[in-house]
């Protein structure tokens, strides 16, 4: 009796082990597939957190390599896109990719309607606001974004391009929600100032 009991127990362990491993493998495959399905969205945000396409591609690869290694730290049912972006922004900070394009003074902020006033006035009273916006080129916008200092740009890109809530952005960047709001506010104004400058340069 005792003997067969022992044998049973010994037999049961590898079976449980195999079951556990199979479940884990299934969970891991699912995690990897879910993460890969988000890669387009992750890249779109990464592209403007980094200063160039090359930096962004490297950053996304490092992010996925780390995510696949530490997948067990992800809590299923929570926001996987935010979890990936948290890895990515940490890597971006750690790897010293935060240098500005060129050393520059903190840009002056514009009044909130500054850009509109500037574009509308130079456009000779264009009445259609959509047309006014279209006076900015895609290059203007991409380079204006990259001119926003990183602390402000991180928040701006996560919220305005990545559609993250203030709370998600706060968690991703590990800063208080109030800081997200104030950086977002300043970041948007800095962006507008840069855009107004680009528009003015084209006039002349």
């Amino acid at each position: 009796m005792a003997l067969s009991g022992t044998v049973d127990r010994v037999d049961a362990e590898p079976e449980e082990d195999a079951q556990r491993l199979a479940t884990e493998a299934r969970d891991r495959v699912r995690f990897e597939e879910d993460a890969l399905a988000l890669s387009d969205q992750v890249y779109r945000v990464a592209r403007h957190l980094a200063n160039s396409r090359e930096d962004a591609e490297e950053l996304v690869q490092e992010t996925y390599a780390r995510a696949f290694r530490s997948w067990r730290q992800f809590t299923p049912g929570t926001n996987l896109r935010a979890w990936l972006l948290r890895i990515l922004t940490n890597l971006n900070i750690d790897r010293g990719r935060r240098q500005q394009r060129a050393p520059q003074m903190q840009p002056l902020e514009a009044n909130d309607y500054f850009l509109y006033d500037r574009l509308a006035e130079n456009g000779g009273g264009v009445s259609d606001e959509q047309r006014v916006v279209e006076r900015l080129s895609q290059d203007d916008i991409v380079s204006a974004l990259s001119a926003v200092p990183h602390d402000f740009r991180d928040v701006l890109v996560l919220v305005d391009l990545g559609d993250f809530s203030y709370a998600d952005a706060a968690q991703i960047l590990d800063i208080p929600v109030g800081t997200v709001m104030s950086r977002l506010h300043r970041g948007r104004r800095i962006l507008k100032r840069e855009l107004a400058e680009a528009a003015t340069e084209e006039e002349t």
């Binding site: 890969l36 996304v60 996925y64 696949f68 606001e129 916006v133 279209e134 305005d160 391009l161």
Partner: protein
């Protein structure tokens, strides 16, 4: 009493972020409905957001997609 257009300017970004309370939102909409200059600015701010997002969207290259798939850890 504060200048209503200055107040509207303050509310504009939070309004576009959908973070105003119902009460604040109703007040902002009431002002916008009767103020042509603020309406124009609102349309501009809204268009700008959409336009910036569109202009900033750069799709990832297929090579990167393949590299990411290759990073998956093979099953033993």
């Amino acid at each position: 009493m504060k200048d209503p257009c200055a107040h509207c300017e303050e509310m504009m970004q939070p309004y576009l972020d959908h973070v105003l309370t119902d009460e604040e939102m109703a007040a902002a909409e009431a002002h916008l409905a009767g103020c042509e200059p603020c309406q124009r600015r609102y349309r501009f701010e809204e268009s700008l957001r959409i336009y910036v997002r569109k202009a900033a969207t750069e799709e990832m290259r297929p090579e990167l997609r393949e590299k990411l798939s290759a990073l998956r850890i093979p099953l033993e």
